[in-house]
């Protein structure tokens, strides 16, 4: 009863692959990581009140009497939030608990108006499940899910507006969070980052959380300890509120190294809560175990136990979308993509939706290449969010179609692509307007070749002796036709005229 809910009971579990071990001065070490991810439920209203749960808004403008802890106010559960927790659980293949209960976690802080957080401490709505995660060697590992419980978010304390005062914004107070607790199955900084990434991808597929890390919709508490490979578990430290996949990896790497150095110097690890400093990439003490609160959990007497039916769960199950792992397999089978390419596309529902729309009725592999190489490349280089891509899925598909049907060649396509980004127009409009259509008129091509052969007789002789010269000739013809000639036709005619087989 007094064990912290967020502390899974560690038992025997797998040892890291030797390539994941961390070299120390005294030998190898193994990193053990478990994560608690807080994902804000994508809901219009809060977990126990009708106030808006949307991000932003003037400070304290999304606050009901309940969220501000007014005397005599009572919580009423938001059914939609319960559905989202169940949905997330089903997405993780987890056990759904038909009976769950809300407890109060008592502590004082100005951004906690009730003086307690309502949370499912002992009886969470979702039990054990698992998530497929990619390891750094591209193999996949299964990370166990311990539980998911629903709880209220706190408000926000703003300490830097005034040197002598703290301001409190209660807009977030009472928003529904799903706390997704993993088992300590993660063995490297990369796996930790990938777990966070996969989880984000999953909730976005399910639509249960928008996964927007900048707005704090997803944040991770990362538990890190080190041990000798396969040896006895070490003392863990919890790094609070890490809000990006990159930072998760950095925090784990730093923290593991810090612990190893202490242990190798003959010291011991203090169980404590730490903060990750994004500026220095280091973790530092937030509070030690001695400062740990006694939260005095007890069942919230304002709420009845949360009882749901199997029919309710089945109803949600029936509306589950295709999940990333299934979609990846389909992309491999149906589109002939490599596992790696399929993995990149399904990592984000936005990517895979875009891809499927663009690839409809055209060469999927070519679409994949234009999307992941050209478009992603441009977006990355220019720091543009995928959601704001200047080229729509339909237009990218249109570009590939023009290549496929021979209207333009690959070289021209790159120019068209650049113009599409610039203007937002579709490919055929640009090709039409700028007269970029590929020349398949053999007469015109023949004439261009004849003209060239007439002015360069020595090169003709050279080519007949050295068939590798053909490439040079193709280049010359393309140049003289402004790149619009169909390279395949140019090739054929050149071979014929030069007598190369």
């Amino acid at each position: 009863m007094t064990v912290e809910a967020s502390t899974p009971i560690f038992t025997a579990f797998k040892t890291a692959r030797p390539d994941q071990w961390v070299k120390g001065v005294t030998g190898d070490w193994e990193i053990i990581v478990g994560m608690e991810v807080h994902a804000q439920v994508a809901a219009n209203s809060k977990l126990f009140s009708g106030a808006s749960a949307s991000y932003g808004g003037a400070p304290n403008s999304h606050v009901s009497f309940i969220d501000s802890g007014m005397p005599g106010m009572l919580p009423v559960i938001n059914k939609f939030c319960v559905e989202q927790a169940v949905r997330t659980g089903l997405g993780l293949g987890a056990k759904i608990n038909l009976w769950s209960r809300f407890d109060r976690k008592n502590y004082f802080y100005p951004d906690l108006p009730q003086g307690y957080q309502i949370s499912q401490y002992l009886y969470p709505i979702v039990g054990e499940g698992e998530l497929e995660v990619e390891s750094e060697d591209k193999s996949t590992i299964m990370v166990g899910i311990e539980r998911i419980h629903l709880e209220q978010d706190a408000g926000k304390s703003i300490h830097d507006l005034d040197p002598d005062a703290t301001y409190v914004d209660l807009n977030r107070s009472g928003c529904a969070l799903m706390e997704i607790v993993s088992k300590p199955d993660i063995r490297s900084p990369e796996e930790a980052a990938n777990y966070f990434k996969s989880l984000r991808s999953l909730v976005r597929y399910l639509g249960t959380c928008d996964g927007n890390m900048d707005e704090g919709s997803m944040r991770a508490d990362v538990n890190v300890s080190v041990r000798r490979p396969g040896g006895e578990l070490g003392t863990r430290c919890e790094i609070k509120n890490v809000n990006s996949t990159k930072f998760v990896a950095m925090a784990v790497a730093y923290e593991a190294r810090r612990q190893i150095e202490i242990l190798e110097d003959g010291g011991s690890i203090d169980q404590e809560t730490r903060l990750f400093d994004v500026k220095t990439g280091q973790t530092r003490t937030m509070r030690s175990k001695e400062d740990a609160h006694d939260y005095r959990y007890f069942p919230d007497p304002d709420l009845l136990p949360l009882v749901i039916t199997q029919e309710f769960v089945d109803g949600i199950k029936a509306t589950l979308p295709e999940l990333p792992s299934a979609k990846k397999q389909r992309f491999i089978n149906d589109f002939g993509l490599s596992a790696y390419d399929a993995g990149v596309l399904v990592a984000d529902k936005e990517f895979s939706d875009y891809f499927e729309e663009a690839a409809s009725g055209t060469d999927a592999k070519m679409v994949n290449s234009w999307l992941t190489v050209e478009l992603f490349g441009w977006l990355n280089k220019n720091g543009v969010e995928f959601a704001n891509s200047p080229i729509s899925a339909k237009n990218l598909g249109g570009l590939v179609k023009l290549i496929q049907d021979g209207t333009i060649n690959g070289k021209i396509a790159k120019d068209v692509f650049a113009k599409m980004i610039e203007t937002g127009d579709d490919a055929s409009t640009i090709v039409e307007r700028d007269g970029l259509k590929q020349t398949t008129d053999t007469g015109a091509i023949e004439k261009a070749i004849d003209d060239l052969m007439a002015t360069q007789p020595d090169k003709v002789t050279e080519a007949r002796e050295k068939p590798k010269m053909l490439g040079w000739w193709v280049g010359q013809v393309m140049k003289s036709t402004g790149g619009k000639a169909n390279p395949a036709i140019v090739n054929d005619i050149l071979k014929k005229k030069l007598g190369i087989e």
Partner: protein, 486 residues
């Protein structure tokens, strides 16, 4: 004209319906009486003269337009625990200061919906924690009975009981967490019912112990409490523990009689050293019910002796958490300190009285790591046993008759220094709170000093109608006509 303040709620409503007088007239009569007597009784902490007269005028207009509600024009007093929009709601604690909520409790909203008029806010023990109304930040309430003796009206609904008894309102709202309606009713010769947990919405009532708190009325007679309760209760989607069940016509049950009913008499309620007159009163009650055609059966509620200790774990535990929101940050009084913790400590030390602090400490202790299992969890288990006792008893009887309190009203100050003595006041009443059952206190006689004593009827969950039927017989048989001499 007769003194309108002496009327029962029922007869006042009849008078209003017949046009004998207006709501404004009876409201003014009450306001005048409050102005005259409240300085002696301290039953009201806030008298809302203007609002009362406006409410009354609006009510008279509604009546004239043919839209009279069930309580149309009836002037009522409201316990300070109920949030009243725009009017100070302080739970009689310093920590809430001049807090004026921007919302109205469901129970009072129901009363205004039915046409009632608000006279003001009634004194009570701070956060409803007390059995003598001495813990109020607004000072103790004086019992109108033998006013010169300065007796307590009981608590925590002392202001409600005193006001009803002294004709300072037609009826009053009250709340009961361990006996806070029934014990004051017993001390003041009034009738008070704590309905089944979940009958009345708790929304907008300042929380003391959420799993035990229940609102109910204190009124002059059994019929009046039935009329009040009908308006106060009903399902409320804003309270997750509110019961979605139909509201019966409670008043119709008052004259139903007890013929054929089995009335249980629990042997565990016969305490050592209980005053003889209470013993005798209990026997009188048994005889009256027998004469009226009920069958008396001996029953056993074996876990009764654990009820008080259980209550004093569960209630403080919940209270310690419920009262955490009084931190000086958003409303009420704040005492600034050197830093956050210092501000919390100074605010709460200055804002909460000794009894509230005691219960917060007890509650915090029993929920602490390492003590939770031994106290809170154990108490929950015993609570389940107490409910089981009643469930078994219902196999043998339809209602249970007990004394309401182990004594008559005692002088202000007498038990203030001895919390245990004070807590014993609730010995007969806490069991129903722990079991969520309805209980009613009816005046049945007087002690050797001429002070009123009540009998309690306990009923099955949601069977308030049987409760009213039994209480109706007790009331009729007791023929309790004594009134405080004011």
């Amino acid at each position: 004209m007769t003194d309108l303040t002496k009327l029962s709620l029922k007869s006042a409503l009849d008078g209003l319906n017949k046009g004998d007088f207006t709501s404004l007239e009876i409201t003014d009569a009450f306001l005048a009486r409050i102005d005259a007597l409240n300085p002696k009784l301290n039953a009201y902490t806030l008298v809302t003269h203007e609002k009362a007269r406006e409410d009354a005028k609006a009510s008279d207009a509604r009546r004239a337009a043919g839209n009279a509600g069930a309580l149309e024009g009836a002037p009522l007093g409201i316990k300070d625990l109920f949030a009243t929009k725009g009017y100070r709601t302080a739970a009689c604690s310093k920590i809430l200061g001049e807090f004026k909520p921007e919302y109205e409790s469901t129970v009072t909203s129901n009363l205004w919906r039915d046409g009632a008029v608000m006279l003001g806010k009634l004194n009570m023990d701070e956060f409803a924690m007390g059995s003598s109304n001495e813990t109020s930040a607004y000072g103790p309430v004086v019992n109108p009975w033998q006013i010169e003796k300065k007796l307590t009206p009981g608590g925590s609904s002392g202001g409600s009981a005193s006001a009803v008894s002294a004709n300072l309102c037609l009826a009053a709202t009250a709340t009961d967490t361990g006996g806070s309606i029934r014990q004051p009713a017993s001390f003041t010769g009034t009738v008070g019912i704590k309905p089944t947990y979940g009958r009345c919405s708790r929304w907008g009532i300042v929380a003391f112990a959420s799993s035990l708190d229940q609102a109910g009325p204190i009124a002059k007679d059994v019929t009046d409490t039935a009329i009040m309760l009908k308006s106060m209760c009903g399902h409320d989607g804003k309270d997750s523990t509110s019961l979605n069940v139909p509201v019966p016509d409670f008043a119709a049950a008052v004259s139903r009689g007890v013929k054929g009913l089995k009335i249980g008499v629990p042997k565990e309620y016969r305490l050592d050293g209980m005053p003889e007159e209470i013993e005798k009163l209990w026997q009188d009650g048994i005889n009256w019910l027998k004469e009226a055609g009920a069958e008396i059966v001996d029953i056993s509620l074996p876990h009764t002796k654990y009820a008080l200790p259980t209550y004093y774990i569960v209630a403080p535990a919940e209270a310690s958490s419920n009262l955490a929101r009084y931190d000086g940050m958003r409303f009420g009084n704040r005492v600034d300190g050197n830093d956050l913790i210092d501000t919390y400590e100074k605010t709460r030390a200055a804002g909460f009285g000794a009894e509230v602090q005691r219960r917060i400490l007890i509650g915090t202790y029993v929920l602490s790591a390492g003590y939770y299992d031994a106290y809170y969890l154990k108490a929950q288990k015993v609570r389940a046993r107490i409910l089981e006792d009643f469930t078994k008893a219902w196999e043998k009887c339809d209602a249970i008759l007990t004394p309401t309190a182990p004594s008559a009203a005692f002088p202000i100050g007498q038990k203030q220094t001895d919390p245990i003595q004070m807590y014993l006041n609730d010995v007969f009443t806490v069991t129903t709170n722990l079991a969520g059952l309805p209980g009613i206190s009816v005046p049945a006689g007087v002690d050797v000093n001429g002070l009123p004593l009540g009998l309690q009827v306990i009923g099955k969950a949601l069977d308030e109608e049987t409760l009213f039927a039994v209480a109706g017989v007790v009331e009729k048989s007791a023929n309790f006509t004594a009134k405080p001499n004011l």
